[in-house]
């Protein structure tokens, strides 16, 4: 089954385009702020930068309804299990964005209590560097994620559930 799908028949390709169009234009972020970066994340949603333009202003408070996990801030060892659990509570398809140096690799805190990079507990799609990244930086990261989604093939994952894990 997988081989026959490699070539992506015409109809499936159209379906992919349609589904990814919806997915990339309706990325509802999970309203999870951890530290400093959360303030810049809110600033990105506020009037000056307004990610609502991309249809992303519906910050969902419940992980069940979110598509995008913006890990905004320092992840400590105490918080890491919670992050993993929230990630598991999010329904597929889902994406993660590591915002800021702390989430990417511990940032300026090489200490006993800080997790050195959130990619140790959840898979990250896009990394946005900065301490904290500016709102422009975050928007660039979000647009990069949109491009990544546009290149994905959701129909394959629907027809072959194992493909999701090989993504």
């Amino acid at each position: 089954m997988t081989e026959s799908l490699e070539k992506a028949p015409f109809l499936l390709a159209r379906a992919d385009t349609f589904i990814t169009w919806a997915q990339k234009n309706s990325l509802w972020p999970f309203g999870s702020g951890l530290a400093c970066c959360a303030i810049e994340m809110i600033a990105t949603a506020a009037a000056r930068y307004d990610i609502a333009r991309f249809g992303m202003e519906l910050f969902r408070a419940s992980p069940r309804q979110a598509d995008l996990f913006i890990v905004a801030g320092t992840v400590t060892n105490k918080m890491a299990p919670v992050i993993r659990r929230l990630w598991d509570q999010m329904p597929d398809p889902k994406w993660a964005l590591a915002m800021g140096n702390c989430a990417i690799g511990g940032g300026p805190f090489p200490t006993y209590s800080v997790l050195q990079g959130v990619d140790k507990v959840i898979p990250v799609d896009v990394y946005v560097a900065g301490c904290p990244p500016t709102p422009q930086g975050l928007i660039h990261g979000l647009m990069t994620l949109q491009e990544k989604i546009a290149r994905s093939h959701p129909t394959r994952e629907i027809l072959d559930p194992d493909a999701r894990h090989n993504r």
């Binding site: 919806a22 234009n25 509802w28 609502a52 333009r53 991309f54 249809g55 419940s62 597929d92 398809p93």
Partner: protein, 342 residues
Amino acid sequence: MTPFVADFLIPVGKIAAVILYPMLMVVVMIWLERRVVALMQGRLGPNRVGFQGILQPVADAVKLFFKENIMQRQADKFLFNISPVLVMFSSLLAFCFVPLGEPIRIGSYTLTLWIAESPVGLLIILGLSSISMFGVIFGGWASNSKYPLMGALRSVIQVLSYEIPVGLTVLTVAFIARSMDLVEIVRRQESSGVWYGFLMPVSFVVFWISSVAETNRAPFDLPEAESELVAGYHTEYSGMKFAYFYMAEYAHMVLVSSLVVILFFGGWLPPFPGVKALSFLHVVPGFVWYLVKIMFFLYLYVWIRATFPRYRFDSLIRLVWKWLIPLSLVNLLAVALVRYLL
């Protein structure tokens, strides 16, 4: 007109319309809300997908359709699955009884702009909107989680309390119109020459406030108060089931706005139906007047949401039991007295 068209195509078309029309209104409403709230807050709002972002709700719906449906292990599976359907179904069903205008004559055939006409249409709609409350309760309870449970509890108390003033004010309209048929109510407003909203402002105000509360909208959005209860009764819902709750909420708002327009603002009648000098307003089709009025009340919803903080639970209940219910009782007596004397 062949019997095939009259007996089969038109009913099917109407059934399709009764699903499509609310859905279309929901799409417009979601877009309107996000744009208008954004503009009120000095933002732009969705403007990337389609013309001015009008396709944004479509993208959201398609995306939600392809999301995973999470079912927790401890949830009551039957109730958990049935409640979004119940909510959506009752909202859509209510639209069967909402007339969109006077019957249209096409040759010998009369096309009615409603699916079902009932002498007690008003009661049925009120009953159906109460059924949607069960969806909320079941959903909150079946999730087997604390925030949804608290949201459901709040919803029960809130909706039960606010049903009373709604019922009492609807009675005043029925008294004056001597009918519970929605088409008849509009016709009476035409013949009496004055919209009931101006005749009975107290009824209108009480009905409008209570209806906003019944739809769980700001400032009465306690059952899904985000800063307190995360997402309220639908916290555990994902994917399409969540979309049902989400769309049903907007469908309910459209329904309530339609009711307000029909009961108090003359439905599809142009302004001042009795004034001869303004008869040129009849040039505009009734349906347009109807939509414009509904849009105005939907806009009010959005305006209120962008302006007011949220009520606290005790003051919410105090408002209804100490103010709205006594007020609507007095109002009912006054209307009955006037009706009796005239």
